[in-house]
Amino acid sequence: MDREKHMAILNRLLEMQFVAIELNLYLDTHPCDQEALNDYNCAVEILRQLKREYEECHGPLFHFGWSLNRGDEWQWAEEPWPWEM
């Protein structure tokens, strides 16, 4: 069940990140497309929320100061690593 929940939020995060990646590449070659600019910022907002939700349950997504350590131990070095999931 825990794993299912973990995968569910991870999938939502990856979906929204994919939206951001696609819009990012599109904007690199269409820098004045206002609709795409709005969509990009929307994706950033949703992604920020999903990142917070994910990290509260499953530990930091980023290292080097871009995620908080939310416990009494160093969470970054905890399993699983992405290729083990």
Binding site: N11, L13, L14, P60
Partner: protein, 201 residues
Amino acid sequence: MWIYEKTLEHPVRVSRPNVKAAKMIITQYGGPDGELGASLRYLNQRYSMPTSAAKALLTDIGTEELAHMEMIAALVYKLTDGASCEEFKEAGWEGQYVQHDHGLFWTDANGVPWSAKYIACLGDPIADLTEDMAAEQKARVTYEHLIQCIDDPCVKDTLRFLWQREVVHFQRFGETLNTVQEWMAKSKHAWCGCDMKKMVD
């Protein structure tokens, strides 16, 4: 600077370990049209691009290719997870086992190690962007060959995701090639590396 994100770009699953499939897929790790070469090619070409948009695109696609390299590594890792020496031998990949055990290594499907000869940087944006477009097409075709050769539907799903990213990257490189050509026409002179900057200033 790069920041690591502790996820894959797209989930990677396999139905069961399959050393034979891993032996084929390794080519997208360290083969001539694989993801290592792709990321290094694009990130390295940034320094001689004339427009900021071209530098941005190479940074972004080069970064995404690093994530694809990690997905290919995850595929090979899972397809060989727990495989015995016998299973490597049955798949005809005992050379990999002898030299690397369950470690990964940068080779193509025939065991030829990765080489910087796979990538080019002429310092000319037209030549380099055209090379990038060809690279995306070659990677697309390699993924099509892999999808034909592999039965596992989970593995096919990952390969199809990577296949369609090559198509998108090709499109973006094509648009950038057009923009750079327009920029060169407007500037009324051909791009000539560092001298260009002096002329514009």
